[in-house]
Symmetry: D3
Subunit: 245 residues, 6 copies
Amino acid sequence: MKITILAPVALLGRSPSSAIDLTSSAFFGHDLRVQFLDQGPPSIEGAFDEALAVAEIVAKAVQAEAEGAQAVVIDCVLDPGLEAAREKVSIPVVGPGQAAMHLACLLADRFSIVTVLRALAPSLRRRAEVYGLASRLASVRAIDVPVLALLEGREACAAPLAREAVLAVENDGAEAIVLGCTGMAGLAAPVVDELRRRGLPRIPVIDPRNAALAVAAGLVGMELTHSRLTYPVPGVKAVTGCAGL
Amino acid sequence: MKITILAPVALLGRSPSSAIDLTSSAFFGHDLRVQFLDQGPPSIEGAFDEALAVAEIVAKAVQAEAEGAQAVVIDCVLDPGLEAAREKVSIPVVGPGQAAMHLACLLADRFSIVTVLRALAPSLRRRAEVYGLASRLASVRAIDVPVLALLEGREACAAPLAREAVLAVENDGAEAIVLGCTGMAGLAAPVVDELRRRGLPRIPVIDPRNAALAVAAGLVGMELTHSRLTYPVPGVKAVTGCAGL
Amino acid sequence: MKITILAPVALLGRSPSSAIDLTSSAFFGHDLRVQFLDQGPPSIEGAFDEALAVAEIVAKAVQAEAEGAQAVVIDCVLDPGLEAAREKVSIPVVGPGQAAMHLACLLADRFSIVTVLRALAPSLRRRAEVYGLASRLASVRAIDVPVLALLEGREACAAPLAREAVLAVENDGAEAIVLGCTGMAGLAAPVVDELRRRGLPRIPVIDPRNAALAVAAGLVGMELTHSRLTYPVPGVKAVTGCAGL
Amino acid sequence: MKITILAPVALLGRSPSSAIDLTSSAFFGHDLRVQFLDQGPPSIEGAFDEALAVAEIVAKAVQAEAEGAQAVVIDCVLDPGLEAAREKVSIPVVGPGQAAMHLACLLADRFSIVTVLRALAPSLRRRAEVYGLASRLASVRAIDVPVLALLEGREACAAPLAREAVLAVENDGAEAIVLGCTGMAGLAAPVVDELRRRGLPRIPVIDPRNAALAVAAGLVGMELTHSRLTYPVPGVKAVTGCAGL
Amino acid sequence: MKITILAPVALLGRSPSSAIDLTSSAFFGHDLRVQFLDQGPPSIEGAFDEALAVAEIVAKAVQAEAEGAQAVVIDCVLDPGLEAAREKVSIPVVGPGQAAMHLACLLADRFSIVTVLRALAPSLRRRAEVYGLASRLASVRAIDVPVLALLEGREACAAPLAREAVLAVENDGAEAIVLGCTGMAGLAAPVVDELRRRGLPRIPVIDPRNAALAVAAGLVGMELTHSRLTYPVPGVKAVTGCAGL
Amino acid sequence: MKITILAPVALLGRSPSSAIDLTSSAFFGHDLRVQFLDQGPPSIEGAFDEALAVAEIVAKAVQAEAEGAQAVVIDCVLDPGLEAAREKVSIPVVGPGQAAMHLACLLADRFSIVTVLRALAPSLRRRAEVYGLASRLASVRAIDVPVLALLEGREACAAPLAREAVLAVENDGAEAIVLGCTGMAGLAAPVVDELRRRGLPRIPVIDPRNAALAVAAGLVGMELTHSRLTYPVPGVKAVTGCAGL
């Protein structure tokens, strides 16, 4: 399957591999292509960052569909531009936030998200509301590490992630954990190990990018895509500026 | 009070007065200034149109604050860019959709929105969910007239609006009506007349722009603005492109 | 605008100014008139106190309307008699509890109420449920000071209010605070100062009377009032006793 | 058991037996005593009528407890004064609306209320919200007969009740019916017969007074009464007027 | 009244009186008959145990109806087999979990369940969701004593139950307590005593079996039973094995 | 991947291929094995049928895990025994009802289920409540064909399925359709064709077995399984009878 991982950030001189790490992806069998934005913010940490990126995200989703992608994953747990891109393209567009939250609900009755900065919490909670899963979201916790710092020292975050996960279980009632940033790729396993070491029963720790790839692969396999009643095709109108859309 | 009405559309050669009509505004006493986008879509009719406009909306909100505005109203019932603009500025930013829905709930137990096109319905319902008012939204109905056509023949829309409002009351359980487009300015009164003629008890018909102006004026009067816990100030990061933000 | 502030208490020998303090009102421009009950309880601190006052409240609302008031504010955060008065009069009747809770939701995703006595908590929570905002009410906290004591030493309450507000934010997830008694007039500003001193980000602290006055002024300005489908006119029936109604 | 049925209306010259009919009560074994108000409205058909009655209702509940009643049933499906009376007395106070709605939920997943006038619908829906059962209330329907007319010609109401019950099942998704007025005593059986004649599967039709008596008897039998955390004892304060309370 | 208490467990050599203690039942006036399963688990502590028992439970409910029982109480707070048995028989089938949760909501705005083992918590919470009462369930707490150990030393459990009840009130917002196992018969009174000793205001402590018997007696008295729209009669099909059904 | 499709029915002389048709499965690449019950009902059409099957279902799930299966799909949209099997085994156990409902919510804001008999509707709605998705379930509709009849004449059901799907969209607000029986395998495509012919915009029609297989494959690929906090391992106890468990 040809799936485009749409990184909703501009590289700004970084190397692609430092901005997105696919080595821990569970889906090597598929033909994954990574697409960055031409311009935009270097990371998405709230509604403002999303606003800077969404027009470009839609443009890149349109381009991916034109180039034969069978599905697009928007590589950020805030799912920026998800609804807009679905209106504009016909192939499945999958958000890691939505995919991971639904997956958590398939495995447990209540879940917490452990993310990078507290600033993402309101946006994540709004996402849970739009997805109809707010009653299952036990809490949003943060390790107080910005995305760019996380990307530079991912391994060091396993311990703080596990610490917050334990608090989510013991204080908030979580029965599963969603990693709250696609930049946390590869950290699910060490967090699981850490939780076991701390004596917790086995609970799912969900990597949001992998969750999105699993959903994307499933949808392509079943020839399913989003509803046109929920995501109607936009009317054709004269537009100025706006990422060439 | 100095309030900026931020029209989230590009004029694209239209005259400002054809794009936004303030003659029916209930708030002439205030110092209202209208600000259009430099580039963007000519109307907002779904998530895709929103995506094209939000970066510019935030930029214009920042500019309005810098120029001394005490509050900003984003002049569209979908409240595009509401969260992003609130993160970025400190003065109150008010969405007509949010203001009108809350006002409807202050006056009735259940309300319907009658909007321009069915395509806006999913976005409006998602807004109701994010605002915590989904249980009060009886239905979203549409008169099947695009925004630009509405602006060219507003009077002709009173009858279809009343017709859908009656159906909302009789079939869906609505006890108040929110006009689902700020382009419907001036139509609340004729719709109220029409409903009375059709024998309905008096029900509120809410103009969303006026609702937003009332909320904005109230907030400025009380020296209140949005919570920084809900809308945290974005971190400073290198960004490329994006409306000069 | 002529707005009647209906204090739902009997003076019982107190001076009007000791029972209700308007000096901090944000709405001096309006023609505010204060109306007390002829008989009733000296303060409203639960459902029983409300029961003693509601018939008189409706009678005074009817009288206010007859005397030309354009709106009535029932000056208690429990909104006693709100539905009954709306059924009986046509001008807007505004409850500070309802107005403040909706205003909080316009500015933040979750709010707490800090009130006088814990005894008010169940009534306040029921109000949030009737208003459809229970999912946004993070908690109800109390400073353990009866209304009459509060009125005699308002300044002393700023510190305990701030203390509970901090707990609401840190333990309960509140992102805005509603002052839970109209007798707390003038305390929003010192509480805001206190929260800043304690290092909290800026969060709204809402004075319920001012919120109600803002809503009342907005409704009068927009010529809106409550729905007759939600608050039907009572049928004419022989009644004995009952405050001359 | 000694249970006081507290009719929240003034007799106004009517005979007690015309105002309340106990012949169909399922609970003859108990020592039932009927208590009317000294003054108040002749029937309760909305929030205004409730406001006229609540102070007297609490006074009569206090009197019933003093005279040895083991429980009080407030004989109206709107449960007027329920919270206030519970704050003031220690014996169980039962509302037919609350009892019947919970009973309906014990027997079916969704229920409708068929009441006398449409004017009661908003109050009944608010009750369902306060009781946490709004998601189970399929609809409120009315037969358009005022309470006093119902009392004079009860038998004639079985057919219209059944008609609305059928619509509630077929259009609204109801799986049980709550009779929406205690004045409908004796009508459950004819409505059940009528539904069977119309080919519906067996569904419960619940008489609200009998539901309340069953709950009252159960509570007395188990020596249970309402929580003092939910219904705190009112503080002692000087009060003027107000039914001698 | 003839009511069958259906103990959903196999005796496995135990004496009936050690497996179920009726001495504290509030309903001696009724003709109570206890029926055990022929085969099954010795106690129900989760979904797996339920799975082992449900076919037998339905078989015994059918047998009880055939032998003239007027109602069946399934004697476990997880209400195993409740829906299945209701589909198969016409007499009321009552679950102690459902009865006790509704009763708690009739007496308080929020309740907690204190059960035997934490393992029951997810099943109890799912029950609250199916019954539409999840928003009223403050928490589920456990004393970490298996059912069989509880039955052997019931008195020793009053103190731990009270301890968890106090935590439910003080930390979780509970205003009533449901005992989370029918094996806790007789413990409501000592827990109430203990709570009083610890200074808590009077709150209801509900014995689930007694709650179920009260509901069963009320339903029989009112000639009410479950809805056939909610619990349709199963079609006749060839079946193999399965407890002779 | 080795996935066991656990058909929760007894063959009762039928050929396996008539009881379950895998030709339309989207997941031929996986190693699918079908396992029937030794005894039980021939089809699952309600809670009673489930009760007859659940013990055997758990037994077969245990056996599948012992024989090396990496995941189990319980092949019925009611997800019988889902929680019990998850408690007892460690490999993922997937329910087609849960998988299809979540998938529908990933593709649309509201969905309807079109099932075989109306008798399944209450059980399906309860499942939506337990899964936290009740607010997204627009309606449950039925084509009035028993499972065994469906299996004998699947093609004839495409038209009635499409008819109900259209009603779900037009009357109930559905924006996606879940086929409400795993026996409807192969019917999604003809229903999609039929909906297109009737002029509906493209909406997802979800085959529940394929949805479950997609979820199962995704979970195995990500090495995820259910939470032990939600599905605790049952304690070891002496049990009699019960499918050898």
